[in-house]
């Protein structure tokens, strides 16, 4: 297990280095100089040069890459070109919206998918199963930002149960949670459809295993065998998918935040892009990539801990 963990850790480190290089280079070749953008088209060349020096833009590329990397390791993400504020602080503020949103969506998606998947597997081939499968087929095809608009139309504009957008902050936690409910639901639905299908097929596979037959032979009812032995064993692949879904939810949150005007990482990144605030773009993207790679790493470890056969495979 230790050897496996170390191997995965090495891969994690290499992934992060390569990811940081790719992100840095992509942003580097981007047209448009941040300094001239900040000062406008009428700026004098010497003013632009002075600002470039102040921002450290005149340094050679490899020096800037290394200092960016070293800063990130210390938790210093640099200073925003436009807002003159520490990027780490800006990201931390926005994270208080995006992270709860992704976790909320993950919870909803699991709460919808588990019962649906188990129900469908238990009634395999019957009308209930067909119904769930048809619903998931539709759920996968629905773009989440469009579903978000439909939710706004129904629950905010017609029924007036929720506001159509905006975020009141966490001073009153219930109000904050309420503001995130429609966005989380929009994010969760397509993921729940995928998860329900995985849950169903995983459970169907497990129900064919010998130990289920043994459990039934020992006198357990179908229902008991399903819950005591089936669901528990079927959870392993499902947990992996949940880990992978985290990345979709974080990325999806970027678009959903646009629909609901939420001040999260998505809004930050789009603002930064239009203002050519490249250091913010770099740092936010790197942070998202780091989160995804780290979650995948943890999922791998959890998976290997649960199923020893996997350790030898990679």
């Amino acid at each position: 297990m230790l050897a496996y963990a170390l191997k995965r850790l090495a891969f994690l480190a290499i992934s992060l280095v390569v990811a940081s290089l790719v992100i840095f280079l992509v942003v580097e070749v981007a047209p448009g100089d941040p300094a001239s953008y900040m000062l406008g088209i009428n700026a004098r060349p010497d003013t632009v040069a002075a600002l470039r020096a102040e921002l450290g833009l005149d340094l050679p590329k490899h020096e800037r890459y290394l200092s960016w990397l070293a800063g990130m390791l210390r938790g210093d993400f640099g200073t925003s070109y436009t807002y003159r504020a520490p990027v780490a602080q800006m990201v931390a503020e926005r994270l208080w919206v995006s992270l709860p949103l992704a976790l909320y969506a993950l919870t909803l998606s699991t709460l919808i998918a588990f019962p649906a998947g188990i129900y469908a597997a238990a009634r395999r081939g019957r009308a209930g199963d067909m119904g769930v499968m048809a619903a998931t087929q539709l759920g996968i095809a629905v773009p989440n930002f469009w579903f978000a608009m439909l939710l706004v139309l129904l629950f905010a504009l017609k029924l007036r149960w929720f506001s159509a957008g905006g975020f009141p902050g966490w001073e009153t936690p219930l109000l904050g949670l309420k503001a995130l409910t429609l966005p989380a639901l929009a994010l969760a639905l397509p993921q729940a459809a995928i998860l329900a299908r995985v849950m169903r097929s995983s459970l169907i596979d497990i129900l064919h295993e010998d130990f289920i037959r043994t459990a039934r032979a020992k006198g357990l009812s179908r229902r008991q065998a399903l819950w005591r032995h089936g669901v528990r064993n079927a959870l392993i692949p499902v947990l992996t998918i949940i880990g992978l879904q985290f990345s979709f939810l974080l990325a999806g949150a970027i678009i959903i935040e646009q629909v609901f005007f939420l001040p999260g990482l998505g809004r930050l990144i789009f603002q930064a892009i239009t203002q050519r605030d490249l250091i913010v773009v770099e740092s936010v993207v790197m942070l998202l990539v780091f989160a995804v790679i780290a979650v995948n790493f943890l999922t791998d470890l959890a998976y290997a801990a649960a199923d020893p056969r996997l350790r030898s495979r990679t």
Binding site: V18, L138, P143, D205, S247, I254, I255, V281, V292
Partner: protein, 271 residues
């Protein structure tokens, strides 16, 4: 389940025909604005109503289908064109450094949140259909590489491949002449799935303004424009979304149906 296949093929064909037809004919010119006719609900004159510039929504959806299909198709082409040869090469040199390198690079691309990188690429190099295609296409490469490698590996142990090796054929030639035809079915099925994901990705990028640029109609763009109009004229927001749903649903059903047709064994195991 031929029902899936038929329904999927029918839905997909409707959009394909609409897209092709839009090259020669649409009910109205999508560039023509008629402010007096704005936000009209569906009627005999405008079957799907008009948008906030008075443009005919049916015509916009037809031309939008063209955009979506073109972007997704080229992105799948990029994924297959680069991914399949890489996967086949990895399988031919299984266990070697080339295999290891290709697979690790695949893992790496998989580790990136695809939409975030797509947003990064289109944002940095400028929004537009071409950059959207590249961004979506890059993430199709590891999908096809992994699939091709996985499917090719067991084939390398089969008698007909050994016979070809004994006959002195080179590994690339065996891959092209004997392996590829045997995995083509799988690739086609995955192709339809990636195609549907490409449609969703293009819509998402266009929705946030990073994909297809106006005045070229695209479904995601139409939804973005409709967002502020949703209370006044819900049809403006609902119809383009339905187009996306039916197109993606059609492709997914087509993929499922083809998979069942090609590999009856999978029928009982379908997720």
């Amino acid at each position: 389940m031929t029902r899936n296949l038929l329904l999927g093929a029918a839905l997909t064909s409707v959009f394909l025909v609409a897209a092709l037809l839009s090259f020669v004919w649409t009910p109205y010119d999508t560039g023509a604005m008629a402010i007096a006719e704005r936000l009209r609900p569906p009627s005999a004159a405008h079957l799907l109503g008009t948008d906030h510039f008075g443009r005919d929504i049916l015509s916009m959806i037809m031309v939008g289908a063209r955009t979506s299909i073109a972007v997704a198709l080229v992105a799948v082409g990029i994924g297959m064109g680069a991914g399949v040869p890489l996967g086949l090469a990895a399988a031919a040199r299984r266990g070697g450094w080339l295999d290891e390198l290709i697979m690790r690079m695949n893992d790496l691309i998989f580790a990136f949140p695809s939409l975030v990188i797509a947003i990064l690429i289109t944002a940095i190099f400028g929004p537009g259909a071409t950059n959207a295609i590249i961004a979506i296409g890059i993430f199709n490469i590891p999908v096809f590489a992994r699939l091709a490698r996985g499917a090719a590996l067991p084939l390398w142990k089969r008698e007909f491949v050994m016979a070809a090796r004994v006959a002195g054929k080179s590994a690339p030639r065996i891959s092209a002449e004997h392996i590829l035809p045997n995995i083509a079915n799988l690739l086609i099925v995955q192709g339809t799935i990636q195609f549907s994901l490409g449609i969703l990705a293009e819509a998402g990028l266009s929705y946030v303004g990073l994909g297809t640029q106006p005045p070229v109609p695209s479904w995601g763009r139409m939804l973005a424009d409709a967002q502020t109009m949703v209370a006044l004229a819900p049809h403006v927001a609902i119809l383009p979304g339905l187009a996306i749903v039916f197109m993606v649903l059609g492709l997914n059903l087509l993929g499922d149906g083809l998979r069942d047709r090609f590999d009856p064994k999978l029928r009982s195991l379908r997720a």
